[in-house]
Symmetry: none
Subunit: 230 residues, 4 copies
């Protein structure tokens, strides 16, 4: 098995050796979590894929849970960051929702590993998806304030919508759904939120240009060592 080299590694390429090793471990973890799931993933395998011996893993992470949490946090942060930063000048709530949904599904094409990790996170690292829910909820709230959404918005509804997004993402990853899955999903959700069918269709299928997922540059400065999120 080749030593991995992914987004974290690229990001850290001009940092010190420690940071680079850590980055390789995280890329390897993404790979392994994506392939085997959080539970079945083994530290040995992550270390092997990172090209370090198993002991080195524990220099950088307290235990398997810590790397999982950090990988999840980073994925959540970056996915959200890139979706929101691409929408800075969109003001219409429904459009924002639709774009976000479709961009999310679109990541299946450009970053399948990360997407698999998000899917695998269900049940094991719910915080990953909770962040997504948060942002989603804000746009839906905005929709209510704008008068475009009449349905009541609560946690259950948001959970339901996130679940819909994940299952569509999964179908996309497995090749069971085509490129239109995002728009399709968007239209379904809007309809469910009682947006008028024509309007729902119009917004959901609008022509957008989507981005490739990349790591959000970290505005970090000094060392950040084992913050110890028990």
């Amino acid at each position: 098995m080749m030593v991995v080299s992914g987004a974290f590694t690229s990001e850290a390429q001009h940092q010190n050796k420690s940071a680079r090793t850590r980055a390789r471990l995280m890329d390897a973890a993404v790979e392994v979590f994506a392939r085997d799931g959080f539970q079945a993933a083994s530290v040995n395998e992550i270390a092997r894929m990172a090209g370090v011996v198993n002991g080195t893993f524990y220099v950088h992470f307290k235990d398997k849970d810590e790397i999982a949490t950090r990988v999840a946090a980073r994925i959540a942060a970056d996915v959200i960051d890139q979706i929101t930063s691409a929408m800075t000048d969109m003001t219409d709530a429904l459009e924002r929702f639709s774009f976000a949904t479709r961009q999310f599904i679109e990541f299946a094409t450009t970053q399948p590993q990360w997407c698999w990790v998000m899917i695998r996170a269900q049940g094991f690292h719910p915080e990953l998806l909770r962040q997504l829910s948060g942002h989603l909820g804000q746009d839906l709230e905005l929709g209510r304030r704008q008068g475009q959404i009449k349905t009541e918005i609560d946690l259950l509804l948001i959970d339901i919508i996130v679940a819909m997004m994940l299952v569509a993402l999964s179908a996309r990853l497995r090749g069971e759904a085509g490129p239109e899955a995002g728009a399709r999903l968007s239209e379904l959700v809007l309809t469910m939120l009682k947006v008028a069918p024509d309007h729902a269709k119009e917004i959901a299928w609008k022509d957008y240009e989507f981005k490739r997922l990349h790591l959000t540059p970290l505005p970090r400065a000094g060392k950040v060592k084992a913050i110890g999120v028990a």
Copy 2:
């Protein structure tokens, strides 16, 4: 941890010792799968909860996979059987769908363990849910034929609806959603399928009497003694 005693055990209480032990193992398996998931579940733990030594497990099941498959199959069969048998005289497709959805969510109250197993089955025993999808799909097709559903029905749509059901079930199990979750979900799905809002609301919130989940009596056919048959 106490020795379990669940639905299978009750069902087998008047059968022979082997059947009773086997039943206890299955009840224990439900317990453990519900709590730890299929992957993390250990045969030792199942045996311990069934009150037998670990070797006994293998007298009754070839391996962990076999008991998992059997438990999953039995849960799927019984859940479906009880939902469908309660709907025999319902002819309206939307009503059937709504009733099935709500009865399904309702099981969270009466058989939480089984429901957890269904949730945990995602990804590990997809066949469990696929059976559900099948029946769901039939009612939706009926809805189309009856002219009540105009949306196109395909695999992605069905997967999405099943995902919605599972997340609602999960919310209910965790106490994050109240007794109205089923009706709520039903209305959302009907709306999503472009049923007129008023009609959707009317059907989704109709007053039904739901059943407690119980084991479907097995139509056993007498002893089957396998003497030297390969």
Copy 3:
């Protein structure tokens, strides 16, 4: 796997049920010992092949060792009995030796299972072969008394000859040696014993008619139960 039915079963077919079960167990044991060796053979497997449940095994045999010992004893007794009874009117020691050797190798054709058991017995049930050695030694001694063998005959020599016989038998069973293996072996041994080459060849390749191995009818009368040969 079919229930076996071999020599012991035939022999016991007119005896009581207990004797028949016991016989089936022994036939099954031959089968399993031949296939897996004494060590790897499992009681469960023997019982299964005999068409009884595992508990039944212990009604008839104290433990695995007992059936092994009995099977070995019976095979040794019968092999020897049939070889010797076919030689009653042979008086020439070299001829007796040659015939015995060749008849022994010939069993590979008619009773491969028994032969495998003999081969597998090396190291685990040396008593099986020791009986063979005994009879062999007698004929060799006779050869010395007749003046045909000049070499000194001791235990090492006999062990060596038995080893030669077993390796030839094994080659025959595995199909690596043809029908002439017995004569070939016989000639080699005679030469080794310093019989004149021409004479050795003449005796070794003589034309004999060999028998098919069958069970020696037991002159038994009453029950013989678990004699407890610890």
Copy 4:
């Protein structure tokens, strides 16, 4: 049971810790294979005798088979190497054969464990003995070319000779044969190959000086660090 310390351990005493542990495991394996046979040998027992916990075994060997194969390979290589290197200046085929045979039997005195392993290898690690056969065959072929052996040499014959050697070795190990066993065997084989009795005796009983078996120093080539190589 004491922690073992044998030939491999000595050889590795100036190597790194890993190599030393590995060596102790191999010495322990020799001990256990010699005592219990390859089949009955247990990894736990090997680890215990090596003075490590059982998990450590798997740091060094993939499974029981791997250590068995390595031990067998090493024994075969060393035995052959030492016999052949002691014969470099012998040109007479019969003498070479006789010396090799006797040196082989002689190992029973200096390395009984290794010899037991060779005997136990019959059936389980035939490749161990096959290498021996190969070298043996070469000398016999040489004997034919030199005109000293007239008998046809084929696989069966070689197998027979190897079997003779092993049974003699075994008798020697068990104390059932004295120091003359090697010469005795050698004479028997030569006679069997139709070497003239006087000549056979002369060659077989010639006075040789035999070596103690020791490990052939490995021509190691420096550290080989496997970093992330598949």
